[in-house]
Amino acid sequence: MGVKLLLEKAHVENIRLYDVYRREGGYRSVEKALKTLSPDQVTEEVKKSGLRGRGGAGFPAGMKWSFLAKPEGVPRYLVCNADESEPGTFKDRYLMEFIPHLLIEGLIVSSYALGSSRTYIYIRGEYAWIVDILEQAIAEAKNNGWLGKNILGTGFDCEIYVQRGAGAYICGEETALLESLEGKRGNPRIKPPFPAVKGLYGCPTVVNNVETLAAVVPIINMGGEEYAKIGVGRSTGTKLISACGNINKPGVYEIDMTISVEEFIYSDEYCGGIRNGKRLKACIPGGSSVPILPANLLLKTAKGETRYMNYESLSDGGFATGSMMGSGGFIVLDEDQCVVKNTYTLARFYRHESCGQCSPCREGTGWMEKILLSIENGKGKMSDIDLLWDIQRKIEGNTICPLGDAAAWPVAAAIRHFRDEFEWHVLNPDKCLTENYGLRHYADPIHVPVA
């Protein structure tokens, strides 16, 4: 049984309500931070904890906070990125829906550390009902003196506002989010300047994921050093994983990053194995934009070592043989799934969600989608596979924001690891409409050359 920090109290009845949350020890971190620590000390604790951004990129949160420019007389903002729209990721939704006060508590402490008196939660438009939950939690917190003017008599003022997005995936990119929050078209900004210098309304801004901000609560409660002891290496603390696909128990799990991928998929505590006794074919371990891995490379690294559920181990081998922790959207594909179709579905998503601002992403995502559809429908050519590879290569790294990379990586990984399945589609244009390529060799042990 792993350590639980965020979801420890998730199953307490009515934890959604303030009274229950407070009775279970909620808002202790606010008392501790505001009464005994200076804002810089809070930042220092977060730095010590080694907490990495939970939104996908895994950038150390404490470092991000320390980059925040602090010019005199200019307001600073903290914005919570709750625009969770990555296919396969639904951890923030769970957190906000069932323990909204944990996020509010984390936001108050973080706002104190960063000196933000107006803090925004930018929430995905489709999470309409969660807005009500959050606003109720904010009202409860305010009624009990945790928000508003002169909190706990410390002279710190803070208000939290919830802003709904309008259904664009791109608004999860931090600068597009800020544009949208300002009431403009959600186009990502060109960086530099980074939000830490010029963010919301041109003021220094920190944008953090929901889970990152919630994790500040246990960090302050237990101290940064204690928090850093959980997990391994630079993957400290606990991580929420939203598991879905062909598994027996889809859902949100909190892991302490010490378990292996195999244990996560097959143990009854977590995913409970592949549904209907099928065999594992492939997995996208960190949300739709990270590279897909075949079963053999998922469970063992290219060096033949066991792969663990943490930042370093999942990215072991780089993009050639590894993947990424990403946002923790764990998508499992069994032997009956078609990788070509899966790749097409993802490409369609990115084509639809591209903001259209810069040319490689706007034109390239649509092109990839069309080619993938024709391969999927048995109308592809062998040269299309190389063409796809070339297109993704010309998108990656050449765009304003990471959406271009996110669209290119799944296609690249699918061709890299499942090229024979693409070729089978081309060579069997009729068969591929009625049959599946199946598992084939994708779960075979990989030959490890002796060093």
Binding site: A168, I170, R185, I190, R351, H352, E353, S354, C355, G356, Q357, C358, S359, P360, R362, E363, G364, T365, G366, W367, K370, L387, R393, K394, G397, N398, T399, I400
Partner: protein
Amino acid sequence: MAEEKKLFKVTIDNITIEVEPGTSILNAARKIGGDVVPPAMCYYSKLKDSGGKCRTCLVRVAAGSTADPRPMPKLVASCRTNVMDGMIVENITSPAVQEARKGVVEFLLINHPLDCPICDQAGECHLQDLSYEHGAESTRYEFNRRTFKKHDLGPYIQLHMTRCILCYRCVFTADQVTNKRVHGVLDRGDHSEIATYIEKNLNNDFIGNVIDVCPVGALTDKTFRFKNRVWFTKPVDAHRNCDKCCGEVQLWMRGDEVFRVTARKDEYGEIKDSSKGSTGWICNECRFEKKNASDWVIEGLSNISRHSVISQGKYPGLVKPNETVVEVMNGHAPRLMMNIHSVSEVNKPEIELSKIAGPAHSSDFNSNNA
């Protein structure tokens, strides 16, 4: 004594130049000029916040600065990246940049209709120049090209959304030059489009400038539409007293007829500064209503780059070469070409060539067939 301003030393394709801090890589390259200047489809120096979108100006930064000589991990948009002291930039000397630029040109062209033969912009189109210099000779795109629902932008401006490359220049122009913006970008991704919401007409004194900033034929002049090819017209600089704008324009003439009026442009296709020092935006009245030569004071031929198709046969001070035929023919004047068919006994003049189906063969003149 005033303190001397510190200049930044930047090396682009092995050419070193000193520029003021805050200069973008692109503008530093433009100071050097020539082949090291990256192409720019969306950046427009006269429009604040423009650039960064088309990605044709991508360059490689091989060393960030003297203080931090690490290379930048990705190619950067030179129009939106400022130089640092000691920065080393690779444009045409980097194969990666050339490869990426070729990719961008391909992306820009896959959904472009390539209807140059009927497009009014042909001859002065930046996308034509770009694809001529950096593009591939054929396309790998095998699907239907994107089309849009037509929007009417009023009596002066023609919008061809299919040709648009979404550079946003017109949006910035409408934002910054006119006092009220009535058009912008709708929708997103590959179906995003420049449009006015609910077919609202653009009626602003300076909105005509969107035609000049458009790098392609997406926004063209309705009063010039299909009237003439630009390379048949003669560009001359002219001015008039206008109470709305600087009144300094370029007339595109044929004989005494004024076909089109535009602002004056520099070598990068950007509107030049007027003699008063501000950007030479012109008003709709000058652009669309003053189509008589008598409305203008003509200053003389515009200077057009000799590499442009527009400059064909319009060099100022052109010297006609001497006639050499007489000399090589020992003093005989050249004879006029004659229709030998009518005088030749060989090819039966009674056979009318136009009545033969297809090209004439010897059998057509065979006496048996006659």
